[in-house]
């Protein structure tokens, strides 16, 4: 155990910090769930990519820097601390990308990864369906092989597809064996959203922005080369993706460390410094964010030493989503009636509160995560 930064790590941190200080937009960009904001975020990501910061943990040949996850964590710390924009490329770079790197063919890697890293192609996820939410294994969207065996013909409907309104591609799982049920007979397929037969219907969120959408597939033809990880193996590929998502990449610790720092600043600015109750609550949150950071460093060290992230990644997802919600609830408590205003000086806290409410729901509800922990970590009997 050595918790000091190595000279290499410190140098990398300094380099990242310097670049970000010089390049991060001085004004916050509009939400990437608006047309204008999406375009501006795409521009920002292109700039990141040009400078080699878009996907630092990816292999160099696909647009990354080939760095290990520890350095990635350091980059994330600097990234969030610098006030840089949220990553519109999240679904691609942190979710699909690592899956392609793990199970994709060489052709797929070359075809998809650089365009993903540069945000020339922004990805939407398309997991859920109207009747397959928490119960994701009940997927009904179908993929049928064309007579000549060269294409998938997709039919069905996906929902809660984040970024789908302005994205270029989506990935999801489809039932390719019509005789199958539950986790079997599913295939992971990549679909360009401009393919004929694809209809995207934006869904307005609580705040009115369209951060997600329904995607309708009506005889959509895509090449079989768009299959990721093998026909019938869709569930396993999706679970690998989701496991990595919850375990490490979806929410790196830095954004919570930064959120707590901002909460402390807000408290100093408008709160009562002698209020023990708020002081204790803020301290608890600081410890949670710090605990999450430490937990992630332990996980990443384990990965670097050849270990794997298993079902215990479900612990992470519950932890950060509840911590984030609590941080925003406290901020709103500090703001009092000011929090009623959606477009004022504290807009980011109010927006953040609404977004934090989705944390216990997306990427598998916390109820589903608790079941997973109970079943696979605590080895309790299945119902």
């Amino acid at each position: 155990m050595d918790l000091r930064e190595t000279p290499e790590e410190a140098a990398f941190r300094a380099e990242a910090r310097a670049w970000l200080a010089a390049n991060v937009p001085t004004e916050p960009l509009p939400s990437f769930d608006t047309a204008e904001g999406f375009a501006l975020h795409r521009e920002w990501e292109a700039k990141l990519y040009e400078a080699g910061w878009s996907a630092v943990s990816w292999p160099v040949e696909y647009g990354g820097r080939g760095l290990d996850y520890l350095l990635w964590l350091i980059f994330e710390e600097e990234y969030w601390r610098s006030g840089a924009p949220g990553r519109v490329s999240q679904n691609g770079i942190f979710l699909l990308g690592p899956t392609i790197i793990e199970v994709g063919t060489e052709e797929q890697k070359a075809r998809f990864l650089p365009a993903m890293a540069s945000s020339k192609e922004v990805w939407a996820q398309a997991w859920s369906e109207p009747d397959a939410g928490s119960d994701m294994a009940s997927i009904r969207s179908k993929g049928t092989l064309s007579d000549d065996g060269t294409e998938w013909i997709l039919n069905g409907q996906k929902i809660w597809a984040s970024r789908a309104v302005w994205a270029d591609w989506c990935f999801g799982i489809f039932r390719t064996d019509p005789e199958s049920s539950r986790h079997k007979g599913l295939t992971f397929i990549l679909v360009p959203l401009d393919t004929p037969g694809v209809t995207v219907r934006p869904i307005a969120q609580l705040d009115g922005d369209t951060g997600f959408a329904e995607i309708f597939f009506d005889d959509v033809h895509v090449p079989v080369e768009n299959t990721l990880g093998g026909v019938g193996r869709g569930w396993n590929v999706a679970m690998a993706t989701a496991g990595f998502e919850r375990g490490v990449s979806l929410r790196s610790p830095a954004r919570f460390n930064v959120a707590v720092e901002r909460l402390i600043e807000l408290w100093v600015a408008i709160g009562d410094p002698d209020d023990d109750t708020m002081r204790d609550a803020v301290t608890d949150l600081w410890m949670q964010a710090e605990g999450y950071r430490l937990h992630t460093y332990m996980t990443v060290t384990k990965l670097l030493e050849g270990g794997t992230v298993g079902s215990e990644s479900s612990l992470n997802k519950i932890f950060w989503s509840e911590m984030d919600l609590r941080a925003h609830e406290l901020a709103l408590q500090l703001l009092g009636p000011e929090a009623e205003r959606m477009d004022g000086p504290f807009e980011s806290w109010v927006d953040g509160f609404l977004f934090s409410l989705s944390g216990p729901i997306y990427a598998g509800t916390n109820e589903v995560q608790r079941n997973i922990i109970a079943d696979r970590v605590l080895n309790l009997p299945r119902a």
């Binding site: 609830e329 009636p337 009623e340 409410l357 729901i361 109820e367």
Partner: protein
């Protein structure tokens, strides 16, 4: 010692609930929000006609002459329907502050909704639709007629509250009204309104949990959903008697009025926070959408929770009363 409502009180409230269920659907509420009006004049007239708005207006002014016990269930019903516009302000504060003045008839007939900015609020709700605004000046209560608002549009979280900034709060008419009494009335009426909202949010979540199926059964059959909702119900139902008691303390101007009102608002705010959170979680992603009716009620709750003093503000006021001031 008798802790219950009269048949008349219960029947009036039931009548109001029936009317609102029939005439003021969530679709109509959504229309008010989406139109940007933050007010429903036709509904307002209907409430005036039923005597809801004038329950606390003295008979001498043409009102029903009721007290806060007569009124509390009505406000709860208005909350259950998330009725937009200055209902809390008009029914509780307007009725109390304007009694015996020339403005009282406008409360009774619904022609002049009343709003209030008694706590130094930066953004005043309903000032766009209420021609009369109660403001505080040096500990006294004054009435502004036709206040001048800033032109700036202020986006509030609740589409039924229409926030404005007042450009000038001087030049009002001094009223013979007790500022502390009015702020307590605002807190208490908000508490009752929140209680109604909480019940409605749990009802919406219950409907969804009965209807939505996953893993081959309605999600309401899962213990996780059952227990989440049971815990929220617990919090809401144990705020209820505190709210009703505070209405009695207000009506009888007991020495504990301030403490009881603060207990009511603290518990109602905490209950609504929990009800909103639980109802959203039961819904999952659909609850996070603009098209789901739940949002209309959650946002109203989030606006009212900090209004008229947060849970923490009122908890500290209870502490001062029970434990002595720090």
């Amino acid at each position: 010692m008798q802790f219950s409502f009269t048949t008349d009180q219960l029947e009036f409230a039931a009548g109001l609930r029936d009317m609102l269920e029939r005439e003021f659907t969530a679709a109509r509420l959504r229309h008010v929000w989406e139109s940007g009006d933050a007010h429903d004049p036709a509904l307002w007239s209907r409430l005036a006609e039923m005597g809801v708005l004038s329950m606390m207006v003295p008979e001498a002014d043409g009102g029903l002459g009721g007290n806060f016990v007569d009124t509390i269930l009505l406000v709860e019903e208005l909350g259950r329907a998330a009725v937009p516009g200055p209902v809390v302000e008009t029914m509780a504060l307007g009725a109390l502050a304007l009694s015996g003045t020339k403005w009282a008839p406008g409360v009774v007939d619904g022609s002049t909704p009343v709003t209030a900015a008694l706590l130094g609020e930066r953004y005043v709700p309903h000032a766009a639709v209420a021609p009369l605004v109660l403001v505080a000046h040096g500990g006294n209560v004054e009435l502004l007629e036709s206040p001048i608002r800033s032109d700036e549009t202020i986006g509030g979280i609740d589409g039924g509250r229409g926030l404005s900034t007042l450009m000038d709060i001087t030049g009002g008419t001094a009223l013979d009204a007790d500022l502390a009494g009015l702020t307590d009335a605002g807190a208490l009426a908000s508490a009752a309104y929140l209680l109604g909202l909480s019940s409605r949010m749990l009802a919406i979540a219950g409907d969804y949990a009965r209807d939505r199926r996953q893993f081959g059964q309605p999600i309401g059959a899962f213990q996780a959903v059952k227990h989440l909702m049971a815990d929220a119900l617990l919090k809401v139902e144990f705020s209820r008697p505190a709210i009703y008691r505070a209405a009695w303390s207000f009506a009888n101007d007991t020495p504990d009025r301030g403490r009881d009102v603060s207990m009511a608002k603290a518990l109602a705010s905490d209950g609504a926070q929990k009800a909103a959170r639980s109802a959203l979680q039961v819904h999952g992603a659909i609850g996070y959408t603009w098209e789901c009716d739940l949002q209309l009620f959650m946002k109203k709750a989030w606006a009212l929770i900090p209004a008229w003093g947060s849970a923490q503000h009122h908890r500290r006021r209870v502490a001062d009363a029970v434990l002595g001031r720090r």
